[in-house]
Amino acid sequence: MTPTRKKRLYLIAAMVAGVAVATGLALKAFNENLMFFFSPSEVATGEAPEGERFRLGGMVVDGSVQRDPDSLAVTFGLTDYDEAVTVSYTGILPDLFREGQGIVAHGKLNGDGVFVADEVLAKHDENYMPPEVADMMEQRKAKGAQ
């Protein structure tokens, strides 16, 4: 490699490295804001903003979904397997909303510690399989638990 080319190569490498470091620092500084949601544990420890709107993410607690028969109102527990928060919501739920499924709710904590949501989004996982395979895995898991 000729000396000029070598110099150019070093200059460009330095430029890319500099931009990478700057971006890394910026992302570290804004880490909080890049988190899309808070977990129930963070609500319990008071890390979630109080009196302000924020997003709460977790798993819908099995058997906790209570639907009001006369309206679209629904309440359910949301957990990260450490802490749980009760969520109340009125509106249409996404197709993937079900017990044991991850969801993200947007709203505010009221005085009683209930999270009043005005938007509920489903967070699906990275697993894809045919229903028969899912059934088989379910059965195997049930057998293992016995």
Partner: protein, 249 residues
């Protein structure tokens, strides 16, 4: 063997040779891509089973995931070409960097649009500002920036180098897109195929996905060659070799 490779590389670096070789290769790339796409689509839309949770909506994966992979792969190709253009001042590298941008922008647009259409029924929203979606949108703006910069500079050689710098600076965004779902909590799910342990997708759904990914890759290769040889002809149109082309008479 090595000599032959070096020779091939030097010939590719010469515009008339590139023009001839690319003209011969491009139809094969595109033809093979279309055949694989037809097969992959039939497999993905008809033969592959429905998903246990998402039903048939998951079938958008067969275009969304390859488009998203390609949006990053094309960027890396563009950045490598940009680096070669900057350090070695190779004319052909400048051409390759500049012509990759509109194709990459197309794949990024597709990844965003199909993801949005998938998100509406599954998540319950067209768009959220989570780290994955936002960094992919930044990628689209990087591509648009490269295209705008190339159009703004009259001098082709200078434009090639300017594009190279912007492309290289934007490379930081690629690992951010890839790791966004692990570094931060996002609405977008984690990686399915590219994680370290076995992919968490049933093989009957994975195979058509990989076929589509290869098809998209070949399609990119073919359209990149077509765009690059156009750019060569545009730049060298008043050279003797271009004037003497049979198609120009």
């Amino acid at each position: 063997m090595f000599r032959a490779l070096v020779n091939f590389y030097h010939r590719l670096g010469s515009p008339p040779h590139f023009y001839r070789i690319s003209g011969r290769l491009a139809p094969w790339f595109i033809g093979l891509a279309l055949v694989l796409m037809a097969g992959g689509l039939y497999w993905g839309l008809v033969l592959a089973p429905t998903d246990y949770e998402q039903g048939d909506a998951y079938r958008i994966i067969y275009i969304h995931v390859p488009a998203a992979w390609l949006s990053m792969f094309v960027y890396m190709c563009m950045a490598v070409a940009g680096g070669l253009a900057l350090v070695w001042r190779m004319k052909m590298a400048e051409v390759m960097a500049v012509t990759a941008a509109p194709i990459g922008a197309g794949f990024t647009l597709l990844a965003l649009a199909t993801g949005s259409i998938w998100g509406k029924p599954m998540w319950g929203t067209w768009w959220v500002w989570d780290a994955r979606l936002t960094s992919e949108l930044v990628l689209l703006f990087l591509y648009l920036g490269v295209i705008a910069l190339d159009n703004a500079i009259e001098d082709r050689r200078l434009a090639g180098r300017a594009v190279g710098i912007l492309a290289l600076v934007g490379v930081v965004n690629i690992p951010i897109i890839h790791y966004s779902v692990e570094w931060w909590n996002t609405l977008h799910q984690g990686p399915t195929v590219t994680k370290f342990d076995a992919p968490s997708i049933h093989w009957s759904m994975l195979v058509p996905l990989l076929v589509m990914a290869v098809a998209f890759m070949l399609y990119f290769g073919g359209t990149w060659l077509l765009r690059a040889r156009n750019e060569v002809l545009r730049r060298e149109g008043n050279r003797r070799w271009a004037m003497e082309l049979p198609e120009a008479s």
